[in-house]
């Protein structure tokens, strides 16, 4: 059975329709890249799957592991194994990264029928994952994303993903704002999490990230629809000819 099945999905923000009939099927272990010009609806798709209430689904359905995903609260989606790495991770002053992550991990573990981790086991797990992301341990004691550089925020997202071990990870423009060294670290973290049971949707504007995270499938989103699908070579074609060169134009809608 496929892990995620999106059928004819329509979504609006305010009065504006952003997703105009998306179809996408993701099987366990597959990595799908979603590319597209600015305003094509890439980020909207990512947020709708994660459950952001800002967007209203007006049509279509989404099945996750055979269940009606759209009927689930965002926290329940996360507990069932969906993880969104944010394009703009939110700063939360006053909540320590450590406390936040422990609360998150323990709710997720509870759903999986696993016992809560005690402070010692949690710290050991966190240390191991931080090493993977080449992160300073002091970041743990700081408030969530507060005062983090752009690169630190993105690393923190993938670090959280490594700790929470999702079944479906959605990376929303994880490459934006990263220099090449940071990009390598982040991509290395993502690749270490590739697993036959774990699926990923990688949303990106540029082909660059896909040199490091090599996808099984590439889809091009434009004007709220998937206009082209193919293998990893599609990303290279896009890189060469550009979106316009393939007859794909930005419709000027919010991403």
């Amino acid at each position: 059975m496929s892990l995620l099945e999106i059928k004819n999905l329509h979504a609006i923000v305010g009065e504006r329709e952003i997703l105009k009939g998306i179809d996408l099927t993701v099987n366990p272990g597959e990595v799908h890249a979603i590319m597209g010009p600015n305003g094509s609806g890439k980020s909207t798709l990512a947020q709708v799957v994660a459950g952001r209430e800002l967007y209203h689904v007006t049509g279509g359905e989404v099945l996750y592991d055979g269940k009606d995903l759209l009927a689930m609260a965002p926290e329940d989606r996360a507990r069932e194994g969906i993880f969104l790495a944010f394009q703009y991770p939110v700063e939360i002053p006053g909540v320590s990264n450590m406390y936040f992550l422990k609360a998150a991990l323990n709710t997720v573990r509870k759903t999986r029928g696993l016992p809560e981790l005690d402070a010692m086991d949690f710290l050991n797990l966190v240390r191991e994952k931080m090493k993977l992301m080449d992160m300073e341990q002091t970041l743990l004691n700081r408030p969530v994303n507060t005062g983090f550089s752009g690169g630190e925020k993105k690393r923190n997202e993938i670090f959280q993903m490594a700790v929470l071990e999702p079944r479906l990870a959605i990376l929303d423009e994880t490459d934006s704002g990263l220099d090449i060294d940071a990009l390598r670290v982040v991509a290395g973290g993502v690749n270490a999490l590739r697993d036959p049971q774990r699926s990923m949707i990688v949303v990106t504007h540029y082909q660059r990230l896909l040199n490091y995270i090599v996808p099984d499938f590439v889809h091009v989103l434009a004007g709220g629809r998937i206009v082209k699908s193919g293998g990893k070579e599609l990303a290279l074609q896009l890189e060469e000819s550009g979106y316009a060169g393939m007859g794909i134009y930005d419709e000027g809608e919010a991403a």
Binding site: G51, P74, E75, A78, L84, I92, V95, L101, A103, P143
Partner: protein, 382 residues
């Protein structure tokens, strides 16, 4: 209720007081006279526009003075400062002074650095009583001290407190007022700080309890004085809390900072009124005032008002007030990591309030307040 009726009942209690030293008696009488002129304030008084004290004026004099107020213990050494600072134009200050019986008095000698805080606890466990706690702290020049005032109790009673802090030149004072009165109690308090040259004064007012609460925190600054007035109020149910602050820049080169944060839930109401006076003389004043409110329910009400009276022309004064709900993006971020809605809400509310607690310099007190806050906002697990 007519002023005459109020003061008539008051007069009987007033005349029944045990005798005191002549100078104390003179203070009492002048204050009583002032109160008789003023009466209890009503919502027609600008200063009391959003705080209706009718529940207090209806019942205050049906209440007996608290039992521990037997015998006059106003030390003669307080004469120089007692009742010389807190404004008698505030009817509740006048009332407190009219019933002056005991004074919590501390004198910190010149240059002394107190290692442990001066702790003053007013615990009222006598329902149906009214009490008028009075505190005077005199800090001599260049002395350092920490003051912790606590107000707590059980049952329905009325606390009407007045605190005067007098700081000599170069003194460093860290003041805390922790108000955790019973949820059915009335609490009115005035803190007046008169600050000498180059004094550094920091005050934190934490209001968690009480049915009807009014705090007046006033500071008068001298040359080069630095004053910080911070506050945190957390109210729900039908609680009402009113914070009035007044910072009086009387002399040049003073600096003042103010940060008051409020969390309102249920049908709670709150008032913040921040008056800043910069006198003609007080050039180069630097003053900043901020009031931030987190409103968690549709029925809670906050009235916030800056009140700047600037008579000097070379000053910097900024002020800002915000009233908001929990940040939707932050909520979604937490939820997207599996944290339930109720817990996410608690976490963000805790974080909002924590900002003030973080500024508390006394480790034990900070820990105690964190624990209180944690219990308040972590009822949904975590």
């Amino acid at each position: 209720m007519a002023v005459a009726t109020q003061t008539g009942a008051c007069l009987e209690l007033f005349t029944k007081q045990p005798a005191a030293a002549p100078w104390v008696q003179a203070l009492r009488e002048a204050a009583f006279q002032r109160f008789a002129e003023l009466g209890f304030p009503t919502t027609h008084d600008e200063e009391w526009r959003f705080t209706n004290v009718a529940p207090i004026s209806r019942s205050a004099f049906a209440m007996l003075p608290s039992r521990d107020r037997q015998g006059a213990v106003v030390p003669d050494e307080t004469q120089l400062h007692l009742a010389k600072h807190a404004p008698l134009d505030n009817p509740f200050v006048a009332l407190n002074t009219a019933f002056l019986t005991t004074v919590a008095f501390h004198h910190v000698p010149r240059g002394a650095v107190l290692e442990s805080p001066i702790e003053i606890t007013h615990a009222c466990d006598q329902p149906g009583r009214v009490h008028h706690p009075r505190t005077l702290i005199v800090v001599a020049p260049d002395a350092h001290c920490t003051i912790i005032e606590r107000y707590t109790g059980t049952g329905s009673y009325f606390t009407n407190a007045v605190t005067e802090v007098v700081a000599g030149d170069g003194a460093v004072i860290d003041h805390y007022k922790i108000q955790t009165e019973d949820r059915v109690a009335f609490h009115i308090a005035t803190m007046q700080a008169t600050l000498g040259r180059s004094t550094s004064f920091t005050s934190h007012s934490i209001s968690l309890g009480g049915a009807l609460v009014r705090n007046d925190a006033n500071a008068t600054l001298s040359e080069g004085t630095e004053a910080t007035l911070n506050g945190l109020y957390i109210v729900n149910g039908s609680q009402h809390v009113d914070n009035h602050t007044q910072i009086d820049h009387a002399k040049p080169h003073g600096a003042s900072h103010e940060l008051y944060k409020g969390v309102l839930d249920g049908r709670a109401t709150a008032v913040f009124n921040g008056r800043i006076i910069v006198r003609k003389d007080a050039q180069k004043t630097d003053s900043k005032q901020t009031n931030k409110n987190l409103v968690l329910s549709d029925n809670a009400v906050i009235n916030t008002k800056p009140e700047l009276q600037i008579l000097a022309d070379d000053v910097r004064c900024t002020h800002g007030a915000t009233i908001g709900q929990l940040d939707a993006e932050a909520m979604f971020y937490l939820q997207s990591r599996g944290i339930g809605k109720a817990q996410a809400r608690d976490l963000l509310t805790y974080a909002f309030a924590q900002d003030i607690i973080d500024r508390v310099k006394v480790a034990a007190l900070k820990e105690e307040l964190e624990k209180r806050l944690f219990e308040k906002f972590h009822e949904h697990g975590g």
